[in-house]
């Protein structure tokens, strides 16, 4: 019997003979990264010439770059030539009922309180009429359209709104930014595009209703959100359900642009597969996220709850260019087993009277290793800039690690920068105290952790916060005695 891989290899090799760059019918590109592949991707997506050129510039930059060395973990071996950079969106295997789904996965869904229909959608079981995400999506799209809000896939935006894409793509995270951003520029698959017109307050949390559809966007996602003058949008990324993916490397790019008096709230709950007890097989989550507060008194706020992935490596950042603009970063990062997180933020104060607030809560259990790395820079023009940073670490057990690397660069004497840091440990005596009051160890840890992360979870939209809270307790299950 010939297995499907052989068939794909076979086809791929054949296609290769004839050059695949023009063959739009092919579903999967052969492994390898080169200009032909990039042309192929671009052609598949029917992209305009300028975008192909931009991709190629990204690739040229990528070729000149090396992997960074400053991170607080050992860089895993990555063979980027061994990856395939294009796969047509796959139809999921359709199952007939939840009985056919991995019971362990179902147990987790149950603990998270994910509704039955959503469970079905997530696991590829045929969904009944009550929960038709497509029609829900369509209804909301209609409503958004009335208000002039554009919310669509990146690919669609390239076709329908090329001028907007052209104007802002790479304007916050240039194709030369870092090796993963350059790689993303060259081969990005798809992602989301949002444009909020002047004066519009987006009436719903974007992406809540789309979280099921938004799943298979691939390993090189690209998101671009533009909030025009006096507008507001809250965007949710991710899903609390456990996300499995064969693709080990995820190198997404997110760009946010806030014009005058505009506000963007971007929330993430990341629960990618963390790998087994030794971290084997987990996702490498190497994302570049950056926003620019272009306009006066604009505001960008990042909130992230990072519980998954073998390695989480990201610094959602804000460039405070407009005078009196504001940037916020709220983060909870949890590591256990052999998970690694090296995360934090960079805030660049450029405009006058700019303000920033950083609240980072690291939790380390098992043999996990958690680093907070943050930069607050104040430029010479940023009179009266203010920053407050609170950076806390919570340790569970004796084998985990926690580190903080706060960098401050101030070139303005009027700037006020405050930094507070604490490290605490869930001690055996604390656990015993609560045990003695009838609370078991799992609940005790959940109680302490929930108290610890409250300030960050409060930033999330209500229903997301509840899910994130449950997710944290599930993640830390079994982390004590």
């Amino acid at each position: 019997m010939i297995n499907s891989n052989e068939i794909i290899d076979d086809i791929a090799n054949k296609e290769y003979e004839f050059g695949f760059s023009t063959d739009i019918e092919m579903d999967m590109a052969p492994p390898g990264l080169n200009e032909d592949i990039i042309r192929f991707i671009s052609a598949k997506k029917n992209e305009p010439e300028w975008l192909l050129e931009w991709r190629l510039k990204g690739f040229a930059a990528f070729k000149k770059m090396e992997f960074p060395k400053w991170q607080h973990f050992e860089m895993p071996e990555l063979d980027l030539q061994a990856l395939s950079y294009y796969a047509a969106p796959k139809k999921k295997v359709q199952l007939n009922s939840l009985d056919e789904v991995d019971p362990e996965l179902l147990a987790t869904f149950a603990k998270l309180g994910i509704p039955l229909n959503e469970q079905k959608a997530l696991t590829g079981v045929a969904v009944d009429a009550v929960f038709d995400s497509v029609s829900v999506a369509t209804t909301f799209k209609g409503k958004l359209k009335e208000m002039g809000v554009i919310f669509c896939s990146f690919g669609e935006a390239v076709q329908e709104h090329p001028d907007l894409v052209k104007k802002y793509l790479g304007s916050v995270v240039p194709h030369t930014d870092n090796i993963f951003a350059a790689l993303n520029a060259a081969v990005f698959s798809d992602g989301s595009f949002v444009y909020i017109p002047k004066g519009v307050r987006c009436p719903m949390e974007l992406s809540t209703y789309f979280r099921i559809n938004a799943q298979n966007t691939g390993q090189f996602e690209r998101t671009l959100i533009i909030a025009d003058d006096n507008s507001y949008v809250s965007y949710l990324e991710g899903c609390t359900a456990p996300m499995r993916d064969e693709n080990q490397l995820h190198a997404a790019v997110v760009e946010l642009v806030a014009m005058e008096h505009a506000e963007i709230k971007y929330s993430t709950v990341q629960n990618w597969y963390p790998g087994d007890k030794d971290g084997k097989g987990g996702i490498y989550n190497f994302v570049t996220k950056r926003g620019i507060c272009k306009g006066t008194a604009s505001k960008i706020s990042w909130t992230q709850v990072e519980t998954g992935s073998a390695i989480t490596w990201k610094y959602p950042s804000v460039i405070l260019q407009g005078d009196h603009s504001e940037g916020e970063f709220y983060s909870v990062a949890v590591v256990r087993n052999k998970q690694i997180a090296d995360t934090g933020t960079k805030i660049h104060h450029i405009g006058k009277g700019t303000k920033s607030r950083i609240i980072s809560k690291g939790i380390s259990a098992g043999r996990g290793d958690n680093s907070y790395r943050g930069l607050v820079s104040v430029g010479p023009r940023a009179d009266n800039a203010r920053n407050f940073t609170q950076c806390d670490s919570l340790l569970i057990g004796n084998q985990c690690g926690s580190h903080t690397f706060p960098y401050i660069e101030s070139r303005n004497k009027t700037a006020m920068i405050e930094h507070e840091a604490t490290t605490s440990k869930i001690g055996e005596d604390q656990i015993f105290y609560l045990n003695q009051r009838g609370i078991d160890s799992e609940k005790t840890v959940a109680l302490i952790v929930n108290g610890y992360v409250k300030e960050v979870l409060n930033q999330l939209p209500m229903e997301f916060a509840v899910e994130a809270q449950k997710l944290l307790s599930i993640t830390l299950e079994g982390s004590v005695g």
Binding site: Y433, Q436, R437, G438, I439, S441, L447, G451
Partner: protein, 254 residues
Amino acid sequence: MLTIKNLHAEVEGKKILKGINLEINKGEMHAIMGPNGSGKSSLASVLAGRDNYTVTEGEVWFNGKNLLDMAPEDRAREGVFLAFQYPVEIPGVSNLNFLKTALNEIRAYKGLPALEAREFLKLTKEKQQLVDFHSNLMNRSLNEGFSGGEKKRNEIFQLAMLDPQLAILDETDSGLDIDALRIVSNGVNKLRDGEKSFVVITHYQRLLEYIIPDFVHVLYNGRIIKTGTKELALELEERGYDWLKEELHLKESV
């Protein structure tokens, strides 16, 4: 209610309890006295199930159940309460949230539904008065930044809220000024309902002027070397422990 038979326990390879025998019936008030380091807190810890203690010999029965087989939280749910000598601080967990969780865990164990918010608050108000526990401490993090006296009152307040069958009070009187001592003792006395049993660990007779014990035991070097009534406490106050130690050595050398 509680039967301790020939209980031996060690910590880090060091023998601490060396054959404790004790019988406590419903509604009784027992005082355990003894010099520092004699094993009083260790006995409390072993009963509550602290896992750094290893029981090497003996049995403990609580309402017909083998206490030593149970996890600490199950002992608590069965009705064993320990007011700690040194209550720990738990930052980020509000006193109120903690108490609600504890109470509902215990209720769930007994097959009772969780208390409704209103009932819970009513109960809280009522029990707070018992030990004059300030409302503003309720919303603060559990014991965080509490004074020594506030922590001790919180222990008795929790005792009142959780309504156990057996309450072990480990030096609840130490660190209390005379007013606080009176308040705490009054609270304990009000909780004496003929059902609950108490073990009060102290090394001052002072507390026993307020809380009148039915029995007084002297713990020394991991063993109960003398049992008497409240008069024994007075005698200890006057004469110290040395005469008892001598009595013991005489007995042992015979």
